[in-house]
Amino acid sequence: MSRSTPNILDRPLGGRGARSEGSVSTSAFAYLYSELVQYHQSRVASISELERRLESSGYGVGLKVLELLAYRAREYKRETRLMNILQFVSSAVWKSLFGKAADSLERSIDHADEFMIVDYEPITSMYVSVPSDLGQLSVDAYLSGIIAGVLDGAGFTARVTAHSVTLEEHEVSANNAPNANSSGSGSVNNNLPPRKDKAVFLVKFAPEILERDATLDR
């Protein structure tokens, strides 16, 4: 005997039109996120404070996403190695949140404790134009909060910051080709001008984490 339709707050998101369970329209997210940013902006006095608030909003999401994905993947061992947890973040977490893996994971040449996760089309800044008087603000701070939450929850303390880096020439053409072919699920509206920058999430681990990883190597 089935129960009567549950209260709308208890039903899963996505409704009748969702192609797969758990997907929501980009527009819905964009409007909600825009409100989140405006809410914080009216309560802070500086750009870095705004970024910090966005990061802490994302932090909680990161913790929960880690638990959820670990449970669903049915892996009984947790990650202890640095490279593995970074791979987990850039592929599994990205896939479950945005439908595709992160565009690249790199290690910084100058600093051994820094890694970069690159996304060419972060969902949070798809429709956002930052006015010039707010200069360096990156609204992707929310995403860096998510990354930090996942890493902290897994036991790797790290500081994650979001940066917008202008695309180099070869990357611009490489990105416009896939966008022209994509259609349907979760892809960009082709009327928007091609992005001129990519989002780079800089992950800086605490020194103890690197030492711990080095001892595990032996």
């Binding site: 409007y31 429709y127 956002v128 006015p131 609204v139 009327n191």
Partner: protein
């Protein structure tokens, strides 16, 4: 913004033109002998001025359900103006309304919006015709 042949006008001019048009639009809606019932069609509202045809210019207006009006001026004989207006509406919802830094009723300063509109006009101009300007106001 838009076509190189279009004369450029300062922001204050736009605001003045905008408010004049808004008043004319409202007067026309009141002066109409027929009061349309349920005057919202699939894309927007039906009342008020839709098109002004003059010697060297055609001006078309598109009103949304919420009362926002998009006005575009073009060379007479340009095709697809309605399509452009509807696309601009879509761009407005995407770039301006989803931008946390855009305040409603203020002049739209979102870079993404201006770039997208420029791209749209370029795309349409390749199909012929010249557009002179578009302004948007409530």
């Amino acid at each position: 913004p838009l076509s190189e042949r279009a004369p450029t006008i300062g922001t204050n001019e736009w605001l003045r033109i905008g408010s004049t048009f808004h008043s004319l639009h409202a007067i026309a809606a009141e002066a109409s002998p027929l009061r349309l019932l349920g005057n919202k069609n699939a894309y927007g509202a039906d009342d008020g001025i839709e098109e002004i045809n003059a010697g060297g210019i055609v001006l078309k207006s598109f009103q949304t359900r919420t009362g926002v009006k998009f006005v575009i001026t073009a060379d007479p004989g340009t095709a697809d103006i309605d399509y452009v207006l509807r696309e601009i509406y879509v761009l407005y919802t995407d770039c301006a309304l989803k931008d946390p830094f855009y305040e409603l009723e203020m002049p739209i300063r979102c870079e993404l919006f201006t770039q997208a509109v420029d791209l749209l006009i370029e795309r349409v101009e390749k199909g012929g015709g010249a557009y002179h300007g578009s302004s948007k106001q409530r």
